[in-house]
Amino acid sequence: MNETAPLLRIEGLTKAYPGVVANSDVGFDLHAGKVHALLGENGAGKSTLVKMIYGLVRPDSGTMSLRGTPYAPVNPNAARAAGVAMVFQHFSLFDALDVAENISLGMDNPPPRRTLSARIREVSEAYGLPLDPTRRVGELSAGERQRIEIIRCLLQDPKLLIMDEPTSVLTPQEVDILFRTLRQLSAEGTAILYISHKLEEIRALCDGATVLRLGKVVANCTPAEKSASELAELMVGQTLHAPSREGTEVGDTVLTVKGLSMAAPHAFGTSLKDITLDLRAGEVLGIGGVAGNGQDELLAALSGEAPTARDAVTLNGAPIGHLGPNARRALGLLSAPEERLGHAAAPDMSLTENAMLTASQRKHLAHRGFLNWAAARRFAQTVIERFDVRTPGPGHAARSLSGGNLQKFVIGREILQDPGVLVVNQPTWGVDASAAAAIRQALLDLAAKGAAVIVISQDLDELMEVSDRFCAMNEGRLSPARPAEGLSVEEIGLMLGGAHDMEVAHVAH
């Protein structure tokens, strides 16, 4: 419907952060009554873009106009006043308060409680979002919590509603309810900007789509006219190819996971379902998938942070499922979790102390429980030198390092412990290009020396570059592994579970 004047026009928006251009010359139009998808991989710049629209981030250059008048919100209040509302991926709700109290907390001039409760009931019935204003938030499901956020937005009577990955925490039934609401809203003339990387959802719901890749608009299209795999190709680019590597000698199976199931550790976690994989010496196994499909849980199960059934994980033929992280380290199974600050490293501790954190056994940094700080310092210094970590010295706190440098330290700390098996999650997330290349090279070198490596990542380019075999995680399940070489974008898209989502969407109608 490009003949009508757009509700929101975005032109030439650019935003750069140190080391990365998040958005470069991004422009598109949003029309009243249309659902528009913003599509892209993690790190493509979707979040930065919507934060600019919602007044959380100011663009370096470029303009926006709302109904023909210039629009440059200085903060979210200004955006809301202009009729722009946003539902975030992560909710900001207080468990101990009830629904009406939570909604009133987010309002500038909350009406009296009785009026508000009546309004909440009214809106929730009008849009088919069943919600009792007196329920305590702590008792609600993720879908119901999302309804609070949506109703909070609808009470402002928005002209444009931004939804950031709304279905990532929903059950298929809840997705169905949400879609009906969104269709009703758009029929009433509200423009909806829908951010997702679930392709089938977008095909089912959206009237138009803008595809972002590395901060740039690579395509504008009508999703219903494209197949899921065509959209995936637009999203990840045509140039997915595995670089031919020096022929690695693949040895015997060292790590086996068989029938591993694990309940979700917390409400927003993913339960692992019957995961089976085997890993041979000298190979890199890439595990792709959209965030929140069980990657963190799989890493915890492999590192030993979340002990599993004894026989679910075997290392060199011996069952290790019941062992904790240190016992697994002693046997040569090392890991590097995704979250650098607070998980892989303690932010306020020095690099020396952080070296002690995982390397005390394999580098003999402790004797009968007494710590050898001089040796830990030497080891930290070695990691700093070998992995080109930019820091004045090992005495500095982990949090004083940039993300990329700390990541080099964390990966280096594990690699220099000479692991038999190394499991890394998102090894180059938020890391600049040169550091990312160095980390990938180090992982390949480790495999070339005969270690087995599992790389969990959402970056398909990265996985194609380093993997010998590839498999995908979707909703806690792991697909069978396939040789990475010769794998087409289409096949990868299907492995990532696009087709799986489509079934659900059809059932939902």
Partner: protein, 361 residues
């Protein structure tokens, strides 16, 4: 506009300087409070900080009191600091102190009037075990049922106080005391008495134990894996789990150590300066030790100094009460100010002040 800006790393200078700054600010604010009460602020501050140590008239009595009062504070605070470092909040040291005193005294009284060198060590052991067991109640409830150890340990203080009263009136009452509440005086029972080791210094076995605990805690925190895990768990629980720390074991260990040390402190007090189990035996060392632990920045050496400082304000405060007629509540307010200012200026360690308008990022 004044803004707080987070420092990339904690400032070493301010880590050391903030306690001194807090003491200075307390003196100023306390001086103002004393002036408002119609007393000479300089005389009041001098009476609290200077006279107990150097006044020719009072020092002979006050100086030994310094170690007598600092001993239990340091011993308890050292144990508490280990837990606080790990994020385990034992607020009920007062109760563990009472139970330690009851258990230790009970063992001593059971042997009365037998004389043997083994009795006192047995009492120490019983005192520590009593405190340990009392601390295990919040420990087990926390690790089994995920209750809040702050509340449970605090409420158990009041249970312990009732037990103390019951013991002083019942099971442990002196049969030759003419019906008065309170146990036999352990000071008059040589095998069970915790006497001054060097006359005129106030040094007793509890003070020795406090010094040993400080050294032990220092070595544990700086040179041992357990201490490293304690610090790690407090700063970054997920990283601690990644490093292989078992949270349950750590919680029980921290509560156990702090309980045992508080219990031992109670025993040293009941067999020494206090002499007997009485209804009002406890005077709040267990609560004041929380202040001492934070005043000492949860560092063993800092706690040593903070314990001595706190003891000084106790003794000096008493002195000011009867020399200048200051109300006792004003002395407590003065001590409260010390913790208040310490926590307030603590922000300088991790933040710096910036004046001017900041850019929104």
């Amino acid at each position: 506009m004044i803004r707080l800006e987070k420092r990339p790393e904690p400032s070493r200078f301010w880590t050391a300087a903030t306690p001194i700054l807090a003491v200075v600010l307390t003196m100023i604010a306390g001086g103002i409070m004393f002036a408002l009460l119609g007393k000479d602020p300089v005389a009041a501050i001098r009476t609290i900080f200077w006279d107990p140590l150097f006044d020719p008239q009072f020092a002979a009595y006050s100086r030994p009191q310094l170690l007598v009062k600092a001993g239990p504070l340091i011993l308890i605070a050292t144990g508490l600091a280990l837990g606080f470092r790990a994020g385990v909040w034992n607020i009920g040291a007062e109760g563990q102190y009472i139970i330690g005193a009851i258990c230790g005294a009970a063992v001593g009284l059971a042997f009365y009037p037998m004389e043997s060198w083994i009795i006192f060590p047995l009492m120490v052991l019983a005192g520590a075990l009593g405190g340990w067991a009392w601390a295990m109640i919040p420990g087990v409830l926390r690790t089994r049922f995920n209750t809040n150890e702050i509340l449970v340990s605090l409420l158990l203080v009041y249970v312990a106080e009732q037990l103390l009263a019951s013991m002083a009136l019942g099971a442990l009452r002196n049969p030759e005391g003419g019906g008065f509440p309170g146990s036999r005086n352990l000071q008059q029972y040589p095998s069970a008495a915790n006497l001054e080791l060097i006359p005129g210094t106030g040094m007793h076995w509890g003070v020795v134990a406090a010094f040993i605990a400080v050294i032990f805690a220092y070595v544990l925190l700086n040179r041992h894996m357990t201490g490293f895990h304690i610090r790690l768990a407090g700063q970054s629980p997920r990283a601690a789990r990644f490093a292989g720390v078992n949270p349950t074991r750590l919680i029980l260990l921290c509560l156990g150590i702090s309980g045992a040390l508080a219990g031992a402190a109670g025993l040293f007090e009941v067999s020494g300066p206090a002499g007997q189990i009485s209804i009002d035996f406890n005077v709040g060392y267990g609560f004041t030790a929380i202040i001492v632990a934070f005043l000492g920045r949860l560092h063993p050496v800092g706690i040593l100094l903070a314990g001595l400082l706190m003891a000084l304000t106790y003794i000096g405060g008493e002195l000011a009460q009867f020399m200048l007629g200051l109300p006792s509540a004003s002395i407590q307010a003065f001590q409260g100010m010390l913790l208040f200012f310490l926590l307030a200026v603590d922000v300088l360690t991790n933040y710096r002040f910036r004046i001017g308008k900041g850019a929104i990022t």
